[in-house]
């Protein structure tokens, strides 16, 4: 059985390059969100913050996570289209390693989300994002964002394989896209009511946002990095197990 992840990765990357809506939705919406927060709400939000805070740098981690959360819904969509269109069955009946099919989509997700992340960081630089992070911090940021993408991609595989409709395949991502709003992504959590604050400070994306923010500002990451890694790995393992089970049920 030959591993054909590379061939299938090339195929779905071609899909992305030919479907401009994928690129627009994944990169443009978070960029608009960033502009909205910086230029519309930012002035008001900043009054409750320390004067030295660079607000573009403050909200960048949250914007990146939102982009990834909407990016992975396209992985679910592409997988769903393969299942519905019969290509999934066609590939499964060919003498190739069956896991290549899933890994082709997973790799595509990693690469396309990385492209969106880089584009958003470039736009952020234009509107005033500055970081004192060194090369090691940037590597750590890349690592944790990639791990987050990988975990969410496996979350996306499950609806991609099992959904009955196109809407069903992508709807799961909306709550994830909105998760950064109820966190420290755009505003400090201190002003939130107690119940919301407890949720905001303990949900998975908060620890990731805090970790990335600390790394960008060359501040100590503290426990947040371990909490963030634990969330990512936990989600990854559980999602992978469920995805594999659904996959084996789909194909003998």
């Amino acid at each position: 059985m030959k591993n054909k992840t590379g061939v299938l990765f090339g195929r779905s990357m071609r899909h992305i390059l030919r479907s401009p809506d994928t690129i627009i939705t994944v990169a443009i919406v978070p960029i608009m969100m960033m502009l909205l927060f910086v230029y519309v709400f930012g002035g008001a939000i900043k009054t409750s913050m320390d004067e030295n805070v660079n607000y573009v740098s403050y909200l960048l981690p949250g914007v990146l996570l939102m982009a990834i959360a909407s990016g992975i819904s396209y992985t679910a969509l592409r997988l769903f289209m393969d299942v519905r269109g019969g290509l999934f069955a066609r590939f499964s009946s060919m003498p190739i390693k069956r896991s290549s099919m899933l890994w082709g989509h997973v790799l595509t997700s990693l690469v396309s989300n990385a492209i969106s992340v880089v584009v958003i960081i470039l736009i952020a630089l234009i509107i005033g994002f500055r970081s004192s992070a060194g090369i090691l911090s940037w590597l750590a940021i890349a690592g944790i964002i990639s791990l987050f993408t990988l975990a969410l991609t496996w979350v996306a595989v499950l609806p991609g394989l099992t959904a009955k409709s196109m809407e069903g395949a992508t709807a799961f991502s909306y709550p994830i896209v909105f998760l950064p709003f109820i966190s420290s992504a755009f505003t400090p959590t201190e002003t939130m009511p107690a119940a919301v604050r407890v949720f905001a400070e303990n949900q998975p994306v908060s620890s990731i946002i805090e970790t990335v923010r600390s790394l960008l500002n060359s501040e100590p990451v503290g426990n947040n990095i371990w909490i963030a890694l634990a969330w990512c790995l936990g989600i990854l393992i559980v999602a992978y197990m469920f995805a594999m089970r659904a996959y084996k049920q789909k194909i003998a």
Binding site: M1, K2, K4, V7, L8, R11, R14, H15, R18, S19, G85, G86, L87, A89, R90, F91, S92, S93, M94, P95, I96, I251, A252
Partner: protein, 253 residues
């Protein structure tokens, strides 16, 4: 090399409480076009899925080119090619890219050359660089079948190849299948259209209620019928014949 291309014995499969296959026996010889005829839900697709290693049977055995589908799935996959119920082409890729993709997945040394010769053979050369999503139903199905021929597998499964096609598209596909047959490949096709089985198949098996209830050549099946009585009736053209005459296409050309 055995003379038998596909051997199915007492094949059983249930989904939850529904017993779909209740002991199916099929034997297809090398180079034959074998039609599995049955109404919707008779278990035709289930049979094809088991033969193409996509489903596990609950009981019985099935082998393709001498390889057991359960114990040697890899060998079976190398010997077969599946054209599923819905044309499984990548609509975002062009016709040529679809063929090249399959050639690369099958580790063929010169994917571009294989793609070009199949495009030529299936009359898709002019449409080669158009996205497959823009093809007509008949063209899509032709590309689909062409993709199944990449790597010249000895056994081809065609699951309801003409379902959902317009009359023109159906004739195009019939012509394609007839041409395939002359190349010596073994074809197992499923269909719910009697006429299709009659037109294309060397052997026909009727799958009904989870079992093969009749099996043989068209001549043999005809003998199961009471002897013919001669009656004179006026032949009325069917709407299909009128339609095809008007648009200037006749069956078989």
């Amino acid at each position: 090399m055995t003379e038998t291309a596909i051997q199915v014995k007492d094949l059983r499969k249930s989904f939850k409480d529904t017993e779909v296959l209740k002991g199916v026996d099929i034997e297809v010889r090398r180079g034959e076009i074998f039609a599995l005829l049955g109404s919707n839900g008779a278990g035709k697709t289930t049979t094809v899925k088991i033969l193409s290693t996509l489903l596990r049977p609950d009981g019985g055995t099935a082998s393709v080119c001498g390889f057991d589908v359960q114990r040697q799935p890899g060998k079976v996959q190398q010997s077969i090619s599946l054209t599923g119920q819905f044309a499984a082409v990548d609509g975002i890729l062009t016709g040529r890219e679809n063929l090249v993709l399959i050639a690369k997945l099958r580790s063929i040394s010169d994917p571009a050359q294989v793609a070009d010769s199949l495009l030529e053979r299936f009359g898709l050369r002019d449409a080669a660089n158009r996205r497959a999503g823009t093809y007509s139903g008949g063209m899509t199905r032709r590309l689909d079948i062409a993709m199944s021929l990449v790597g010249t597998p000895p056994v081809i499964f065609l699951d309801e190849p003409t379902t959902g096609l317009d009359p023109e598209g159906r004739l195009e596909v019939w012509k394609t299948i007839k041409e395939l047959a002359s190349s010596g490949v073994t074809i197992l096709l499923t269909t719910q259209y009697l006429e299709e089985a009659e037109q294309l198949a060397d052997k026909i098996a009727i799958l009904h209620g989870g079992k093969i209830i009749a099996n043989g050549t068209l001549e043999e099946l005809k003998k199961l019928f009471p002897p013919a009585q001669v009656e004179y009736i006026e032949k009325q053209p069917s709407l299909e014949e009128i339609f095809l005459a008007i648009i200037g296409k006749k069956e078989g050309n």
